[in-house]
């Protein structure tokens, strides 16, 4: 079994490309099922396909992108792929290292599909790594998600967000987190605009998307994070704001807001790529914790590698045990004794067999964790004639 990951992320692809390959949860799960034993992790910053054996997932990504991705998409195998997933789940590969949203996104992607033993193991371990990094390091103590960075930028424009009014476009998970960050800084979520006009727990007035231009005159901050495939706010619909700045954060992929808004007087617009550049500047204090987190990830990657390597000797160990058990059973069958005596003999011979096989089993697994697993397995199969059966 070979684990392969193929993907693109904010490290290698601009938002224009990422927005073409971003999939919603249903489409991602559907794509994963089409690929066989696979998981599709698709967020605003990355789309990655984790596949065990099966067909090359790069073709699927290129089909979404509408262009060849040679030199852009990355492809990793086995331990490298697992290590990558662990780093992703720990938030170490995120736009803001240590951010917590990605762990939930990894869980959602994993739980959306049925997986085989290898993917099951690597994703469960990845979720454990993510939790461990958060519990054993301080990397996630201060909010450092995309949404909190967005709120920090809003505060950069206004100084103090108390009394500032915000319009939230889209009521998805990231939108709610952004609203929570703005609220914690004192802003009032005045309006929530989405297709279903659903009210949020923050108390914002629900409005439809067609009411956004009118609401702009009444707000200071606009955060947009819908999954709409097209631009939902054009620059010519934004009112003049000379006396009061209007700050737009577009964390949607594809982008929701017309980039020309940035050119308007009194308006500032940051998209998700701009956020990446900004948050990279704020990470100095997190670097020490990130180093510790990397060590934890490396430990877990080593555990995975050992587990993965042990799979190489498992068939040999199973064959050896079956061979020994067959001898034990056949020899016992030749003995004529009472039932009580037979039970005693069964127990004693079973214990002898277990003790005899214990050390070879341990040593083979140790060898498998190193580089000699296959050699030991071959030797055992040769010595005991396991291939002759």
């Amino acid at each position: 079994m070979t684990l392969t990951v193929v993907g693109i992320s904010h490290h290698v692809a601009p938002v224009e490309l990422r927005e073409r390959v971003t999939l919603d949860a249903d489409a991602a799960a559907s794509l994963a099922r089409d690929l066989g034993d696979a998981v599709c992790l698709s967020t605003c910053n990355r789309t990655e396909l984790y596949v065990v054996d099966g067909e090359d997932p790069l073709a699927s990504l290129e089909q979404l992108a509408g262009e060849p991705l040679d030199g852009i998409a990355y492809r990793l195998h086995d331990e490298a792929a697992a290590m990558h997933l662990f780093r992703v789940a720990a938030g170490l590969d995120s736009l803001v290292p240590g951010e917590g949203e990605i762990l939930g996104q990894v869980r959602d992607a994993y739980e959306a599909v049925e997986t085989g033993p290898l993917l099951d193991r690597v994703f469960r371990q990845a979720l454990a790594v993510g939790k461990r990094v958060r519990s054993e390091t301080a990397i996630g103590e201060s909010p450092a998600s995309v949404s909190s960075a967005a709120a920090a930028l809003a505060a950069q424009v206004f100084g103090d967000l108390k009394g500032r009014r915000a319009l939230l476009i889209g009521a998805g998970r990231i939108g709610e987190l952004a609203a929570a960050n703005l609220s914690s800084r004192g802003a009032e979520i005045a309006y929530v605009a989405n297709r279903s006009a659903r009210e949020l727990r923050f108390g914002g007035k629900a409005i439809g998307l067609d009411e956004i231009p009118a609401a702009l005159a009444d707000v200071d901050v606009v955060i947009s994070s819908t999954s709409a495939p097209e631009t939902i706010l054009q620059a010519d619909l934004v009112p003049s704001r000379r006396r009061r700045p209007l700050f737009f954060i577009d964390i949607a992929v594809p982008r929701d807001l017309d980039p020309a808004i940035q050119e308007l007087d009194g308006c500032f617009l940051y998209d998700i790529d701009d956020l990446e550049a900004v948050v990279a500047e704020t990470l100095a204090g997190r670097r020490a914790e990130a180093e510790r987190a990397e060590q934890l990830v490396a430990e877990e990657a080593e555990r995975f590698r050992s587990w993965r390597a042990s799979l190489d000797v498992v068939p040999t160990l199973a064959s050896l045990r079956a061979y020994a058990e067959e001898i034990r059973s056949s020899e016992l069958a030749k003995v004529r004794v009472s039932d009580d005596e037979r039970r005693t003999l069964e127990s004693v011979t079973q214990q002898i067999l277990n003790k005899l096989l214990h050390l070879p089993t341990v040593r083979m697994k140790e060898a498998a964790a190193g580089t000699n697993g296959a050699t030991y397995a071959d030797a055992v199969r040769h010595l005991f004639g396991l291939d002759d059966e």
Partner: protein, 251 residues
Amino acid sequence: MIELLFWPALLGYGEAALAYASPRTSRAATWGVRVGWLAQTALLALQAARADGFPWGSWSGSLNLFVWLVVGAYLIWGCRPRYRLLGLGVMPLAAALFVVSRVGGGTRAGGNAHYSNLFLVLHVGFVLAAFAGFTLAAALAALYLWEEDRLKRRAADILRLPPLGTLERLTWRTILVSLPLLTLGLAAGVVRLRQESKGLDALEWLTLGTWLLYGAFVVARPAGRRAAYVALGGFALVIVARLALSAGHFA
């Protein structure tokens, strides 16, 4: 002896002017400002102690006092890390003006006997304190414009700068505090002119125009870039007034 204090003050200001250029040395720059300002404070105290009258009545003496007021105003909150760029604008100017003051003899002991101490304290002291405030407001406004441009360009290091809204508020408050000082200084000057039955000269008309501009600013409270441009325009008048002062207002 008094003039020996000029050197540690200049050294502090000069070091700050250079050290603010790099984030790595900005902490050293802050200490340079503090040490320099303390040395200049001692210099001014000694000048006041040894003078018979108001020691900063000459243009160079008033420049010495002006530098001290500007740096003092800056010290109130300008040494915070996010305001490093403000120091980069203020401290080279302060160091340069301090040197000019010394060249003109403003750091020596002695006073101006032509005017009463009370008038000089009220007129020169208040006007210079107001000008120092306007200088700081202009630096804040310049920083505002620079940062706004950085925001428009989506600069990555934007969170290291003071919030844009805070800069706007500080500019307005600095002018709000400085304007009454200018009002008091002008009032003292007008009272003296009436006593001497003189009319307003060009400098006094200019200063009155400056007062009107800043007064309109406080009342109208413009926002955003417009506020910054008005603050900088007012500062341009302050510069002209300072130069005219050097040309012989007290001569």
